[in-house]
Amino acid sequence: MQLVFQDVACDFLLRPKLVTFAVNYHELYIKYKLVMLSINELRASIEGKEILKGINLEVKPGEVHAIMGPNGSGKSTLASVLAGREEYEVTGGTVIYDGKDILEMAPEDRAAEGIFLAFQYPVEIPGVTTINFLKTAVNEIRKYRGENPLDAAQFLKMVREKAKLVSMNDSLLKRALNEGFSGGEKKRNEIFQMAVLEPKLAILDETDSGLDIDALRIVAEGVNTLRSPERATIVVTHYQRLLDYIVPDFVHVLYKGRIVKSGPKELAFELEEKGYDWIKAEVEAVG
């Protein structure tokens, strides 16, 4: 982080007018391809049991990072802690996102800052339509950012465009949120919500679970459509097959609460071929 601030400071000296935008770290991160998310020695536990035992990870805008690992390694815990799920207690380390320490932030503030979690198990909420839910979300986020709320017409126009973008059926929008949706519809609804909220950091938690190959392809297409130089994506998955469609820049293997191996996308193929046992063996050998 030291380096980051030095670089920014140099830029200010050369072009003083940028000082007025000094709080907009995001633009600077993109411009300089600097670290947007920096996780340092993150530890977290649930009900007194430590799950994350010192995670280190740096993510830059435009990058796609895959987090893989055997069941129970802490993948979903990492996704949940980043999004602010309150059942988890952070017991150590820092998470700096967009220049801010987010660990003290409420989940809704993290969302307003641009973090999005696509749930492994999207929640059914009877009585709240998808469209009403999203309108509330969009306008709450706009309020947080000091922007005026969208009126009904503006909102509807935007939502229709986004629905088209990720092949989401309009008729689902009027139904109660996720209620009676198929597994594929639920996951697509997550990607649709992501398209509407336009996060800077998208975290996909086991988005492939419970999907057949066709549904998987449609969901992956949606994610790929939303890939951009400004947006970073963390894909949490147990299986390599999702990564056939969402090709990562980096693959990290999480085991027993630590990232034990990182590498290029080829690492995923190796895991698919050989399973996780060799990683486990490697870790055990090092002790």
Binding site: G84, E108, F116, F119, I125, V128, E140
Partner: protein, 439 residues
């Protein structure tokens, strides 16, 4: 029994005899004989204590600890009621202030060819035998002290008579206003709704209180649903922190009739609603929906009865509540299926969200089935807000209070959506949204 109990009871009985002594010839009428019998029943029963199974969780000690002026005058004007209004267009609106019909405030738009809408007192003057033929016929077996008290003191209320085959277009909104601005007031409205064969009508009773002194309302409504008739009946209470309310609605349905009831308790210190439906016909449908939101130390008790006496009918019940702070809720739902009532379908469900560890909800489904070919179900749940749903909403940028109010609003939606008088449903949606947002 405390001395206060004796006091209010004794005072009421004394009051009854004082009134009776100045009645001249009318005291001998059949109408008055029913009242006199009811007084004797009230005298015998006394106000219930928690030893009475029907009142186990609802203690009326506080209610009967003070005296109320049952003959309070009121200088109320429409302007005083602005804030209490439910914005309803194209409806018959009938005001009762402290239990007495107010022709100045009321507005009847339906034609008298189509429907009789009159105060009970006026209707009785015009046609005593007609009114008497409906009076206390459904409630006489109620065996409840409050109902007996109301019967004994019946003076005013509404009398609605819908002739056969009439479909009444405009809803009837009955507004009961207690003017408790200067004193403790009591009122005992008595309503008779007689709906003829193949007739249709929508009604609502709305209870409001002005001022901060105590109000005690003891209302009784008898509803006769004729063959093939279709009746919608809503009861909305939005009273004060000092309002005590006991209300009984007694319904009898005949063959192939439909009856919908919606009972919504928004505010009040102590509320007891009794909704008793006798399904005395085949191929009837009875629907009961209820909603309550007690907070502070408020108390809401809903007792319902679906009494299936004939075969092939259906009853369906859904009550929902959100309880906060130290509020107490009670739900007691009885379903009787008599030996003749084969092929009955009876469903009952009561769902509650308790938002505080100090709030309590007592639910008691009670099924007594004497026929062997029936489908009955009941279920009650009492739980907290779904944390997973809350996190899901927050993770999309919705603040915790907003997410909570959305979830609670959604929880109420399947009851509110059953209210078919649009203006009342919209009014409730607004009031409920405000109520949920304010916490």
């Amino acid at each position: 029994m405390s001395t206060e109990t004796i006091d209010l009871k004794t005072r009421l009985i004394t009051d009854f005899h004082a009134r009776e002594s100045v009645m001249n010839g009318e005291a001998g009428s059949a109408f008055h004989q029913k009242k006199r019998a009811a007084l004797a029943q009230f005298d015998e029963l006394g106000f219930p204590t928690i030893k009475n199974e029907e009142w186990k969780y609802s203690n009326v000690r506080d209610l009967i600890s003070v005296s109320y002026n049952f003959n309070a005058d009121s200088s109320i004007e429409l302007a005083d009621l602005e804030d209490l209004k439910i914005p309803v267009q194209d409806a018959n609106i009938i005001y009762f202030v402290n239990g007495h019909y107010s022709p100045e405030l009321s507005r009847i738009v339906s034609s008298s060819d189509q429907i009789t809408i009159d105060s009970l007192a006026n209707a009785y003057k015009k046609n005593p035998s007609l009114v008497n033929s409906f009076f206390n016929e459904l409630t006489q077996d109620d065996n409840d002290a409050f109902t007996a008290l109301n019967t004994a003191f019946t003076q005013d209320g509404i009398f609605v008579n819908v002739p056969d085959n009439q479909s009444v277009e405009h809803p009837i909104i009955l507004r009961f206003v207690s003017d408790a601005r200067t004193q403790n007031v009591g009122s005992q409205p008595r309503n008779i709704i007689a709906v003829g064969r193949n007739a249709q009508v929508k009604l609502a009773e709305a209870f409001r209180t002005l001022g901060n002194e105590r109000s005690f309302t003891n209302s009784v409504t008898e509803i006769y649903v004729g063959e093939e008739a279709n009746v919608e009946y809503y009861k909305v209470q939005n009273e004060s922190e000092n309002s005590y309310h006991v209300g009984t609605t007694q319904v009898r349905m005949l063959d192939r009739s439909h009856f919908y009831a919606g009972t919504v308790t928004l505010n009040g210190r102590f509320t007891r609603n009794n909704l008793n439906i006798i399904i005395d016909g085949e191929r009837c449908e009875a629907h009961m929906y209820g909603l309550y939101f007690p907070d502070g130390t408020q108390h809401v008790d809903n007792h319902t009865v679906a009494d299936h006496r004939k075969p092939n009918s259906e009853s369906n019940e859904l009550y929902k509540g959100i309880l906060r702070d130290k509020a107490k809720g009670v739900f007691n739902g009885k379903i009787f299926v008599r030996p003749d009532a084969q092929k009955t379908n009876a469903f009952q469900s009561c769902k509650n969200i308790v938002l505080s560890t100090e709030a309590t909800m007592n639910t008691k489904p009670q099924l007594e089935i004497f026929a062997d070919d029936v489908k009955c179900s009941h279920g009650t749940t009492t739980g907290q807000i779904d944390e997973e749903a809350l996190f899901y909403m927050r993770s999309r940028g919705i603040s915790k209070p907003e997410a909570l109010s959305l979830l609670m609003f959604a929880f109420c939606a399947d009851v509110v959506s059953q209210i078919k008088i649009d203006s009342i449903r919209e009014y409730l949606e607004n009031v409920i949204a405000d109520k949920l947002a304010s916490k």
